[in-house]
Symmetry: C2
Subunit: 69 residues, 2 copies
């Protein structure tokens, strides 16, 4: 698994630190860091919460084209 650069980018666009985002969704800084690092499998509710905060959808940040058909 590669890094989630779309997440990193969307967070940067909101000028939020990993801790800011972590606090906003109610997890720890390490969890956000791990998700961006890529070697991780978060729950969908956490993914949804992150998307809400960043004003993005699941597809925007967690779906990869080519996953599909």
């Amino acid at each position: 698994m590669g890094k989630n650069l779309r997440l990193k980018s969307a967070r940067a666009a909101k000028d939020m630190s990993q801790k800011d985002l972590a606090d906003a969704v109610g997890v720890t800084r390490q969890t956000v860091n791990a998700i961006e690092s890529g070697d991780y499998n978060p729950t969908i509710n956490l993914c949804i919460a992150i998307c809400r905060v960043l004003g993005k959808t699941l597809n925007d940040i967690f779906w990869e084209e080519g996953n599909n058909g």
Copy 2:
């Protein structure tokens, strides 16, 4: 949390039983049932695997408009 009727519908459209889908994504029937029942928080990798099998995207099955902003 309500039932995930979009998942149930997409599965029906492929004429797959809960067990068929469970086998296809490598989890148990109970896990698929729990996800459809709604009171559950699966990992995103499992959600992605389900979407792949059903020919849908994360937004199609797990994203709710109004979640957004």
